[in-house]
């Protein structure tokens, strides 16, 4: 009796696994054998053409004033926005934010609010509404719909929480006739008047990987630390890195998901160090980079060659320790651009259809300069936030 019940339970459990397994027979699934965590995901997220384009864009001199990188654009295709031009300056601009759930977004969000104040004082925009979806795609779809249905928005700015899933919502926003500005992550539609973003994830990942390849002896070992799977911007960085590492002589020890949790990062690095030498660390985002460095200190190992991000905690650590490192940048100043773009569109000025912002890593040479500029900023602040000239600086970013 009892046994049969357990059998029954087991059967059900197996049934579950079987069923889930069979759903993976769909075409766009990778064959089971390449389920290696190292080989993982690269294939799916790698787009050769886009990769080449981004790497090329790194070399192109952007148009516009270098002092205001948030207004620069790489190879812009200017589009006429006369159709959206409106009289007066009392336009309501609505912003649907994916979330402010990590320091990078928090910093950017402050910058954006500061920029808005300026524009409002200049009388170029009126009310600024925003909604925050707390990383919930469905929530953000509702938020966007709410903006559209309210009919009060003269322009809608969207920072999608995920590329593919927000596409239909953005399309509805476009369909409503108001100008739509998309930034940070893209969507699978070009219906927006302008799509603002730095060069991109491939460039970020490649900057980091190339640096490691250049600085490390052939045969050195590299550990890749990633936040979580399935997020396109992050997957692109890793895909590019894999591409670069593939034709190098570096040995990739593994890639680990850390959730961006410092404790997890330190724990993982410590374990790898215990198993053998680690010469280089590649990270898909700077969160918790310091913890990785500390793991080496605590294990009494020499500092690795490292790629982090322009997060100050990491850059300060880098400065203290004098280690060999680079801070790839996913330009935080891009948070200024969308509101500026919106105000330009509403006054009929031309904007690039795809507004590609410069994205240059911070190297040893520029380190001190950026540290000085951000001397009294908190440690989870991003060096290239580009808000130094805004009236709120520095208090708005310092005393949140």
């Amino acid at each position: 009796m009892h046994r049969t019940r357990q059998a029954l339970a087991a059967a059900a459990a197996i049934g579950l696994l079987a069923a889930t397994a069979c759903t993976s027979e769909t075409p766009d699934e990778p064959a089971p054998e390449d389920d290696q965590s190292t080989a993982e995901s690269g294939d799916e997220w790698f787009d050769q053409a886009e990769y080449d384009r981004q790497l090329e864009q790194r070399g192109i001199e952007p148009e516009g004033d270098p002092a205001a990188p948030w207004l620069q654009a790489i190879e812009p295709e200017w589009v006429d926005t006369a159709e959206y031009a409106q009289e007066g300056g009392d336009h309501t601009v609505c912003f649907s934010n994916a979330s402010v759930s990590n320091p990078w977004r928090v910093t950017g969000w402050i910058t954006m609010q500061q920029q808005v104040e300026v524009l409002q004082d200049e009388g170029r925009i009126g009310e600024f509404r925003h909604s925050d979806a707390a990383d919930d795609d469905d929530q953000q779809i509702s938020d966007i719909q709410a903006f559209v249905d309210s009919g009060d928005c003269d322009a809608i700015i969207i920072s999608p929480s995920t590329t593919a899933t927000l596409t239909p919502a953005v399309e509805t926003a476009c369909a409503s006739g108001v100008p739509v500005v998309v930034f940070d992550r893209g969507v699978n539609t070009d219906c927006a008047v302008t799509f603002i973003h730095p060069i991109g994830g491939y460039a970020f990942g490649a900057d980091a990987a190339e640096f490691l390849v250049d600085e490390l002896e052939p045969g050195s070992t590299v550990l890749a630390l990633r936040i979580l799977p399935g997020v396109d911007v992050l997957e692109h960085r890793w895909a590019a890195a894999q591409e670069v590492f593939a034709d190098s002589d570096l040995e990739i020890l593994g890639n680990e998901f850390t959730g961006g949790d410092a404790a997890e990062i330190k724990n993982i690095v410590t374990q790898y160090l215990q198993r053998g030498d680690v010469d280089g660390i590649w990270m898909d985002a700077g969160d918790g980079a310091v913890a990785a460095v500390e793991a080496f200190e605590d294990a009494g190992q020499p500092y690795p060659v490292m790629s982090g991000e322009d997060e100050l905690s990491f850059m300060r650590k880098w400065d203290e320790t004098g280690m060999t490192a680079i801070a790839p940048v996913y330009s935080n100043f891009q948070w200024r651009t969308p509101v500026l773009a919106a105000s330009m569109i509403l006054s009929g000025e031309e904007v690039p259809a795809e507004w590609v912002l410069p994205q240059e890593p911070i190297t040893e040479a520029e380190l001190d300069d950026y540290l000085d500029r951000n001397a009294d900023m908190p440690s989870l602040h991003y060096a290239k936030f580009g808000g130094e000239d805004l009236p709120g600086f520095p208090d708005a970013w310092r005393d949140r």
């Binding site: 799977p229 961006g260 330190k266 724990n267 215990q274």
Partner: protein
């Protein structure tokens, strides 16, 4: 003698035996994969990093054994680290006062959980779920979304440093010593009148009340202890790895899993604090094993889930059998001082 027997009995039946067997099994595999793991430095590193979860497990044990849940510990750990960073803001001199403040805050959160649960008769699952949301939101409201400030070196000492150059062992982490101290404390506490009333409350609330037990008081105290353990865990984690926005996320589920893995029964009245801490250690060992085996990172949750269900199902079965199997020959109990 009788204690020895009881220890044996405890290991034989229920989840307690299961968890230590599992721990040994896991360590065996780790040893096979990588004998180096058991050299002092890496073992110490393992224990250092496992300490916070073990301490959390001890705290959670008090709540669970008295028949409740505490889902708010993860958020509390995160909150404590952020509070520390913001208030200390790099000033060595502030370290101790702030730690004191954190302990007060942890106790206060526990007290709130306890009072809402006992006085307002809200199920602890809901109480602490609500507290989780409140803490998560409030702390970010306070810091504008991302942690600000920074920890002092002395604050980080506890979680990061240790007694250096010990023969054979190298570094003995403070975290390990704190863990052992608090663990011993927890075991002692369960031997006190409080501990006995606490577990009796989880077993039979009515009988305990009719014996004059302050049922609500001990349950509230359990929540306070859980809050304090979360504070200490926060101090150790913050010390171990510094501030990051994600500290503590999801820890509540990990720690409850650990405690249940230790054979502590949700619903109360059964299980030992040692086993609960053993469960935490086992879980950490499991994560280490995954890493040692270079198991695809994305696959690990599945294996973890399967192992936990299997272990708990096995323990549940064991319990059913022991409660069925005829008891050994009973004889008159001669006076043996306890």
């Amino acid at each position: 003698m009788s204690r020895l027997r009881s220890a044996a009995a405890a290991l034989a039946g229920g989840g307690t035996g299961t968890v230590f067997a599992l721990l040994i099994a896991i360590f065996a595999v780790v040893a096979a994969v990588n004998p180096g793991f058991f050299e002092a430095p890496s073992l110490m590193a393992f224990l250092k990093q496992a300490a916070p979860l073990v301490i959390l497990a001890a705290g959670q044990y008090f709540v669970i054994v008295s028949g409740n849940f505490d889902l708010s510990v993860g958020a509390l750990v995160g909150a404590q680290v952020v509070i520390a960073a913001r208030l200390i803001d790099g000033e060595e001199s502030r370290t101790l006062p702030v730690i004191g403040l954190m302990l007060l805050f942890g106790a206060a959160v526990g007290l709130a959980n306890g009072l809402i649960t006992t006085a307002l008769k809200v199920q602890s699952f809901i109480t602490t779920l609500g507290m989780l949301l409140v803490l998560y939101g409030a702390i970010r409201l306070w810091t504008g979304g991302a942690p600000t400030g920074s920890l002092s070196e002395s604050f980080r000492e506890a979680g990061r440093m240790g007694i250096e150059n010990v023969p054979l062992l190298g570094q003995i982490p403070w975290a390990l010593l704190i863990m052992l101290a608090l663990g011993a404390g927890a075991v002692q506490l369960m031997r006190t009148r409080f501990g006995r009333v606490l577990i009796a409350t989880g077993d039979n609330e009515l009988a305990t009340a009719r014996s004059g037990g302050r049922v609500d008081t001990v349950r509230t105290t359990a929540f306070v202890l859980s809050g304090l353990s979360a504070t200490v865990a926060g101090i150790l984690i913050g010390g171990f790895a510094g501030v990051s926005a994600q500290v503590g996320e999801g820890m509540e589920f990990t720690v409850i899993t650990a405690v249940v893995l230790g054979g502590v029964v949700l619903g109360g009245g059964q299980g030992s604090v040692v086993a609960a801490m053993g469960g935490a250690l086992t879980l950490e060992a499991l994560f280490t094993l995954f890493n040692q085996l270079a198991l695809p990172a994305s696959l690990r949750p599945s294996v973890q889930g399967a192992i936990i269900i299997a272990a708990v199902a096995y323990a549940a079965r064991q319990r059913r059998l022991t409660s069925r199997k005829p008891q050994r020959e009973a004889r008159p109990l001669t006076a043996t001082p306890s």
